[in-house]
Amino acid sequence: MIKIVFFAALREQLGCQETSFPCTDITTINQLKKVLVKQNPAWEVHFENKALLSAVNHDMVDGEYTLKSGDEVAFFPPVTGG
């Protein structure tokens, strides 16, 4: 399984804080996004946002990053701390 978490404005827009997904036929972050949008068509507009960031196991990664079972994937908007 892959654990998927969402933060800040994205979490509110999706109305979802956390979900999980069997790892079987997902290989990259970009493919995971497509699967999530297929399951939740209303999410498409939010996942099309080019500024959206992704992290795997607490490190920022790009869309080509290859996932494995047990990974924690996070999607979130550009950060605004400090």
Partner: protein, 157 residues
């Protein structure tokens, strides 16, 4: 996912306020090597982008935040000859004038502490997973990231 690399004496993510005097003391006590102490404190402003702001809510990604800050400190220690480092970031509900963030760096001579402090803040701004929601006169609003912060961080590349 406990991160073994995180030095919990150097990083604190907390809801409570911090004392500048206490933090400077921790950087200075029993530290006869370092002649320079540079501190930065960030506070909540009363307006942003033309709107009156009454407060902030700060969200973060527990675990990744500490990991990201730890990595930033590791890079700073490689680039500059610095002694002690402390980064504090508050989360949750904050009001106008409240302290948000503290970065303190010591070094033998001032140049390293000045540069490392600015670097840590610039990288924190674009790499640490914090998000601000402003409470404005027109309602709640998630802050948009600013290009200027990205440009500033890239100057260190």
């Amino acid at each position: 996912m406990e991160d073994k690399m995180v030095n919990h004496q150097e990083i604190s993510i907390q809801t409570k306020d911090f004392s500048l005097a206490t933090e400077v003391g921790l950087l200075e006590n029993d530290n006869a090597i370092d002649g320079a102490v540079v501190t930065f404190t960030g506070r909540v402003r009363n307006k942003n982008e033309g709107l009156k702001v009454s407060g902030l809510f700060l969200e973060h990604y527990p675990g990744m935040t500490e990991h990201a800050l730890s990595e930033i400190i590791v890079i700073a220690k490689k680039r500059w000859n610095i002694g002690r480092v402390k980064v504090i970031h508050r989360i949750g509900q904050l009001n106008i004038g409240d302290q948000i963030v503290f970065v303190g760096v010591t070094s033998e001579h001032r140049q390293d502490a000045f540069a490392a402090n600015e670097f840590i803040m610039d990288y924190l701004k674009v790499k640490a997973p914090f998000w601000k929601k402003e409470l404005t006169e027109k309602g709640e609003k998630w802050l948009a990231a600013r290009n200027i912060d990205q440009d500033k961080a890239e100057q260190w590349d």
